[in-house]
Amino acid sequence: MNSSTDSLDALGRRPPPPGLRLGPLLWMRIRLFNTWYNSLLTLGALWIVYVTVTGLFRWGIWDAVFGVTPEPCEGIAGACWSVIGDFWRVFLAGRYPMEERWRVLAAYSLIIFMLTASFWPRFRQWRWYLLVWVADACVVFVLVRGGWFGLPVVGTRFWGGLMITLGLSSVGLAVGIPIGILLALGRTSSRIPVIKTLCVGFIELVRSVPFIMLLIMSSIMLPMFFPIAWDMDHLLRAQIATIMSAAANSAEITRGGLAGVGVGQFEAAKAIGLNYWRMMGIVVLPQALRYMIPVYVSMFIIFLKDTSLVVVVGLFDLLGVARLASQNPKWIGKDIEAFMFVAIIYFIMCYAVSQHSRRLEAKYRVRVH
């Protein structure tokens, strides 16, 4: 091993040059007070930080009330977190029946267990990895919905809160991405102009229309397009809209990934006699998708946030429950607390995923130089 390569780290980056250690005073001179306008900016920024942090601290912790009843909140200056104490079960599971709540908790624990296990590389490389995930998803669905193994059925109108937020976005992506890959394949093949046109039409149509309109359309128009006898579930309608949007967006992402795979790969695959599906499935798509993983992860964040729009069609996801809580006569006017709580949940989820995506991006970065 020669010395010029072993100094690189796992990602092929050169380590930073050895120590230019600044003392705290010198560091402040350079990073905060190097010019007069930077000093002014620093003072201004310090003031903003001071006001925000002390304000949030006083409002959210120092003057706040933690409890489960509305009475102690009368006339206090701080936050009334009792609304969260009273409603947290609804935030987690919506109007799911009290005596069946353990099923939702069990489902959450299963998902968290699988997510944690997935951080272990040996498990990810296991042959049955994907199958285990599929089985896990099935178990979660059966647990939540019921109907088998003596579990009573809980209809989707009792579902709500975080359950819907996570469910809509992950099912939307899990079903939408394979459809999107097919759409992208249809769009990039030149031998089938009719299918290509239809794929382009679908992708462009869905992508140009706001997601909220897709939701409204699928909840108002979809029942109209089917015989009156079919009574479609409200959650299913919203799910169809998410799947359509996920399919169109992931088709566009996959197209970018396909364009990044060199022509030589296609030619080599054809030369060894693979047919179209094998060429795509064995040679091209694995390379394309590998580079697209970070983009798919960012898409997941966008979907996580966009599912909050289902409030408009009358479903109670996290945000819907926040509205529900602040309209409850007991907790009237406690909008800020409810919204803050939901905002913190969203922020933690999205920030964690986006940081993970950044790490993936660094890992999978294609070096073209």
Partner: protein, 464 residues
């Protein structure tokens, strides 16, 4: 075994069902057939369902004066007839004429910006001629406003105007916020960079609808009622009905005032062009900013002094339960505007940051090395190079912002989707209303992507 003729020796015998052309045609026919059947049966069902509810399909309902619901925010829409139509024709004629001119120049291998005569013709077609038409016939332009009862078509148009109004202001201010925060994120000042980072992460990682709800229900709705409005004399009145400002009403000298402002813009354009060409020719630099400011402020002020003030302020008055006569920004608009600006600002900041960071650091060091100030480094070295990388994601972000205005439906801001939804409920013409709404969004995204492609081909590095 009989010998086959030589030229047929290697001809493979492909059965019909393995012939590539036949197979692909069959696949496509099958696919097309199933899609067509699916769409047909869906439409048949829709027709059936609509007929059972007694709804006639067709677009004629747009013209019937039976729209009885109230739209909380309306604005006068100019009617394309008489002076308005004339202006529209002249303006679109100017655009088409300029386009033809540029094609003509392209065919002659002339760069249009290099030819003084061509530039003058273009300015004349695009600005001077429409401006003259507007100046002379402006008073004949008639406008209509949605007042109950009105037509459904007028309702849709009002929704469209509200979408455009919200989209326009959010785009401009969102871009400014994004540019400032994105540059601040890369500041050498540690605290400023940290604060902008916090802004970016918070605005990007919280759903837009949650931000809208926060501003609407938690902030604006908790403002005092009309009687206890927060007031800054009569200039600024803030209450839970919105923000009320004095309205500017044009007087007789308004038209000449605006005309000189436009004239100043044209002069600035020529001055900047002259300065640039002179610098290219001789290397000598002339000031641009201060003369431009002097022109832009000076000429209209001269008109103001000669002809009297161009507009008067009409102050809002408290009559009954609300303020009347002023310019009111509704809480719905304000909530949408603030959250859209912050949300898209966060995303644009990230786009700007990554665009700037993609520039090789040597460029910045070199620019500093030849003694340019930080502002000039930014203006002359960084932004022109970063622009190529920033513009494509920026346009798709703009498109996203225009689509995001549709979230107004959640707080009752009467934009296209909200008004469309009401009309759909009231009239039952769901297919037509949704079709029209989709048409608008598709046209917008088509237009934006066309503009973007055109711009991209212009700014991309020419590799020779």
């Amino acid at each position: 075994m009989a010998r086959r003729p030589h030229h047929l020796l290697y001809t493979p015998r492909v059965p019909l069902w393995r012939n590539r052309t036949v197979r692909y045609a069959a696949y496509q026919l099958f696919f097309l057939g199933s899609v067509a059947w699916g769409i047909y049966s869906m439409f048949a069902n829709a027709q059936e369902n609509l007929r059972s509810r007694g709804i006639q399909s067709g677009f004629s309902f747009l013209y019937n004066t039976d729209s009885l619901f109230v739209i909380s925010e309306t604005m006068p829409v100019p009617v394309p007839e008489g002076g308005g139509l004339f202006f529209l024709v002249v303006l679109s004629g100017g655009v088409v004429g300029t386009w033809l001119l540029s094609r003509w120049a392209e065919a002659r291998k002339i760069h249009m910006g290099d030819d003084n005569r061509l530039v003058t013709i273009a300015v004349g077609l695009l600005v001077i001629l429409p401006g003259l038409v507007l100046y002379s016939t402006g008073h004949t332009i008639r406008s209509v406003e949605y007042i109950v009862p009105s037509t459904y078509g007028m309702g849709m148009l009002t929704g469209l105007m509200n979408t455009l109004k919200l989209g326009f202001f959010s785009l401009i201010f969102g871009t400014i916020v994004g540019l400032v925060v994105g540059i601040a994120r890369l500041s050498s000042n540690w605290l400023v960079s940290l604060l902008s980072g916090a802004f970016i992460e918070v605005t990007r990682n919280i759903p837009l609808l949650l931000q809208i709800f926060f501003w609407y229900y938690a902030v604006l709705r908790t403002l005092p009622p009309v009687r206890q409005s927060l007031k800054l004399d009569a200039y600024l009145i803030l209450n839970n009905r919105g923000l009320t400002l004095p309205r500017a009403v044009g007087t007789e000298s308004f038209a000449p005032f605006m005309a000189t402002a436009v004239l100043a813009l044209v002069l600035i354009f020529y001055w900047a062009r002259y300065v640039r060409r002179r610098q290219n020719r001789t290397g000598e630099q002339l000031p641009v900013f201060w003369p431009s400011l002097a022109l832009l402020v000076g000429l209209p002020v001269v008109v103001w002094l000669l002809l009297g003030r161009p507009f008067t302020l009409v102050f809002p008055e408290l009559r009954g339960f609300n303020y009347f006569g002023g310019l009111t920004l509704s809480p719905e608009f304000a909530a949408m505007f603030v959250s859209l600006v912050l949300y898209s600002g966060g995303f644009i900041a990230e786009i700007v940051r990554s665009g700037i960071q993609a520039i090789p650091f040597g460029q910045i060091e070199a620019a500093k090395g030849i003694g340019l100030s930080w502002g000039k480094v930014l203006r002359l070295v960084i932004l022109p190079q970063a622009r190529r990388l920033i513009i494509p994601p920026l346009t798709s972000n703009w498109l996203g912002t225009i689509k995001d205005t549709s979230l107004g439906v959640a707080v009752g801001y009467p934009e296209l989707v909200a008004v469309g939804g009401t009309i759909l409920d009231v009239s039952g013409h769901s297919l037509e209303v949704i079709g029209l709404t989709m048409l608008f969004y598709m046209l917008t995204s088509l237009l934006v992507s066309l503009l973007m492609n055109w711009y991209n081909t212009k700014v991309q590095l020419k590799s020779r």
